[in-house]
């Protein structure tokens, strides 16, 4: 239920206070009044008021001064001046100081009614706008960027540092490391977050199409161009343009892009009019751009223009500490999406996940979990649900002591033989008692 809108009437004339109070009460508002500035300030301390109707001429502190005091503590207070002594000068002063409106006594009842309604409507919209902005900020907190490893923490810091600036950012990293997520996180933490982030996969489009995709085209610019079309640069106006796989752009388009970035203006394909735009560029690549510059396949001037602030995302195999957190996050995500009661990962399965090499990085991990969620059964994902088997090639053995290697090896043999102790002991070429001792020593547990 919406709270009753409240109105505070501040006027030194009792008859004015009484008649306005009565008038607004009949409309169902919560109304109270104050006879001077001091009483008004007390009322303002006691509760929040939606609208303050303020007389200008009052003994002691006048309405203009009171408005200044009110605005000092609540910049969003909606103040309507209502005065018998109207002059253009005071009206201008009041409005410049942030008053919502200025009316003279006696006021037309219809006008007053509309004025108060409009003021309330504007307050409502402003508060809704604020809530929506907060929601956007919440949504855009990039909750898929997860990790507690020092490398990931460093990336979080870099995002926060660069997001507040308008600097061009280049994100480097292997395929599947989450470069677009980082780009979106930078955008959503920047001043441009209320404008769009427009992503273009430069590697996925042939040269001519990419040009039209970036700059748009006029009707008849080429065969099949039946309608005028806006390009991604135009769509990103006010926001961020994310150029993925920027290393794959053809030389001709590289030149056009460089000019557009430098001048912030361009023409549509087949058009002559210059279109001005304001966007931030974030680009990403998994290519060795420095080598491409040396080999003259990537323009050096564009390289320097794009490579202002660089963020490198290490491959997942180099930040194994992030795997459990990421894997559990994906389990929760797909559990909600699929409505399945699988809510966790067995310690054996987690062990497999941590030891795996992850050539496809986070994207491969997410796919593996998604598949395991499809084939697995509640309550936990088990090793056999995972879409790969550890082989010597893709397995990374635990670093450190021989005992660590022995633990992993024994666990693997037990798993392969479904915890048949005799068979496992035979393969390990140790007796059963020794195997029991080692199981106890390493804290290995048979899956339930």
């Amino acid at each position: 239920m919406k709270p009753t809108p409240s109105i505070l009437i501040v006027d030194d004339e009792q008859v004015v206070r009484d008649s306005l109070t009565k008038w607004f009460r009949e409309d169902g508002y919560f109304v109270d009044s104050a006879e001077n500035a001091a009483a008004a300030l007390r009322q303002l301390q006691a509760r929040k008021w939606d609208i303050i109707l303020l007389d200008i001429k009052m003994p002691g502190m006048d309405g203009m001064e009171l408005q200044t005091r009110i605005k000092e503590t609540d910049a969003n207070a909606t103040i309507i001046f209502i005065t018998a002594h109207a002059t253009v000068d005071t009206a201008v002063k009041a409005l410049k100081a942030g008053a919502f409106d200025y009316v003279t006594k006696p006021v037309d009842p219809d006008y007053l009614s509309h004025l108060v309604n409009n003021a309330l409507q504007q307050r409502l919209l402003a508060s809704e706008n604020l809530k929506l902005k907060e929601q956007i900020s919440e949504f855009s907190k990039a909750d898929d960027i997860i990790g507690e490893s020092p490398q990931t923490q460093k990336i979080f810091e870099l995002i926060q540092t660069v997001a507040k600036t308008d600097t061009t950012v280049m994100i480097r990293g292997e395929s599947g490391t989450g470069k677009e997520l980082i780009a979106r996180a930078i955008h959503s933490n920047s001043e441009r977050r209320y404008f769009p982030i427009v992503a273009v996969n430069c590697g996925a489009l042939p040269e001519g199409i990419l040009e039209s995709e970036l700059f748009g085209h006029e009707r008849g610019a080429f065969t099949g161009a039946q309608y005028k079309r806006k390009g991604k640069l135009e769509l990103a106006d006010g926001g961020t343009l994310f150029l993925d796989e920027v290393g794959n752009i053809a030389p001709k388009t590289q030149m056009d892009l460089l000019r557009a970035i430098e001048t912030k203006q361009f023409s549509r394909v087949g058009g002559n009019d210059l279109i001005k735009v304001d966007f931030r560029i974030i680009c990403a690549t998994n290519k060795d751009l420095e080598k491409a510059v040396e080999e003259k396949t990537f323009r050096e001037d564009l390289y320097y223009r794009l490579n202002v602030f660089s963020i490198f995302i290490p491959p997942l195999r180099e930040r194994k500490g992030d795997i459990p957190l990421l894997a559990n996050h994906f389990v929760q995500k797909y559990s909600r999406a699929m409505g399945k009661l699988i809510t966790t990962i067995s310690s054996e399965a987690m062990d497999v996940l941590v030891r795996y090499n992850w050539p496809g990085n986070v994207r491969e991990l997410e796919n593996a979990i998604e598949r395991a969620m499809v084939v697995g059964h509640p309550p936990a994902i088990k090793p056999e649900d995972l879409p790969f088997q550890l082989t010597e090639r893709n397995q990374v053995l635990p670093s450190g002591s021989i005992a660590a290697v022995e633990k992993v090896h024994i666990a693997a043999i037990l798993e392969q033989n479904h915890w048949n102790i005799s068979h496992s002991a035979e393969i390990l070429q140790i007796d059963r008692v020794t195997l029991y001792n080692k199981i106890e020593k390493y804290g290995l547990k048979k899956p339930q």
């Binding site: 008649s19 306005l20 009565k22 409309d27 006021v107 037309d108 219809d110």
Partner: protein
């Protein structure tokens, strides 16, 4: 049902018989006995020469003093142009959840707006305003329903849009207040 009787104090140039049908309607809506009484008020005491209008709040005070009946509601009908300080005019005024109200004919007539006289329309508007102000005395606030008699009207055209009866919500509120 509400037990307090309603008195229509006719201070206007209209005959008391104008209010006969309305009295029955008021009894139906508010569930109270309603009578019409020829009355008088000292209008000069409420006159503001600078505005050429009559202070309706001052007249409400007179009604309360001159026509006392502890549990009854009194609504005066006058011909004069009413105002409350800060507003340029009012069609009427009432004590919210109180006992006194007043309604003016002055701005309800089409003649006031330079149009041909239409007495039937004026009486219809008057009846709606009487029910509206009485509604306030029974504790009803302004209603947002377009056709509800308790909708706030600042132009006569808005009065014409309303019905003479409260909406179901306002009727429910009336029942609950009993």
């Amino acid at each position: 049902m509400v037990s307090a009787p309603v008195q229509i104090l006719n201070v206007s140039s209209l005959g008391n018989d104008t209010f006969t049908t309305l009295a029955q309607r008021i009894e139906e809506i508010f569930g109270v006995q309603t009578s019409v009484l020829q009355a008088s008020l000292n209008l000069d005491r409420a006159f503001d020469s600078s505005r050429g209008q009559y202070n309706s709040t001052a007249l409400l005070a007179q009604i309360l003093n001159s026509y006392q009946s502890p549990n009854g509601k009194k609504i005066a009908i006058v011909d004069i142009d009413l105002y409350i300080p800060v507003l340029t005019y009012v069609f009427g005024e009432a004590q919210l959840d109180g006992t006194a109200a007043i309604v003016s004919l002055h701005r309800l007539s089409d003649q006031f707006y330079g149009l041909p006289r239409d007495d039937a329309l004026m009486v219809q508007r008057l009846e709606k305003e009487i029910v509206h102000e009485l509604g306030h005395t029974f504790g009803l606030y302004h209603c947002r329903q377009f056709e509800c008699v308790m909708r706030s009207s600042t132009y006569v055209e808005e009065i014409d849009l309303k019905r003479i009866t409260p909406c179901t919500n306002c009727i429910a509120l009336l029942r609950n207040s009993c």
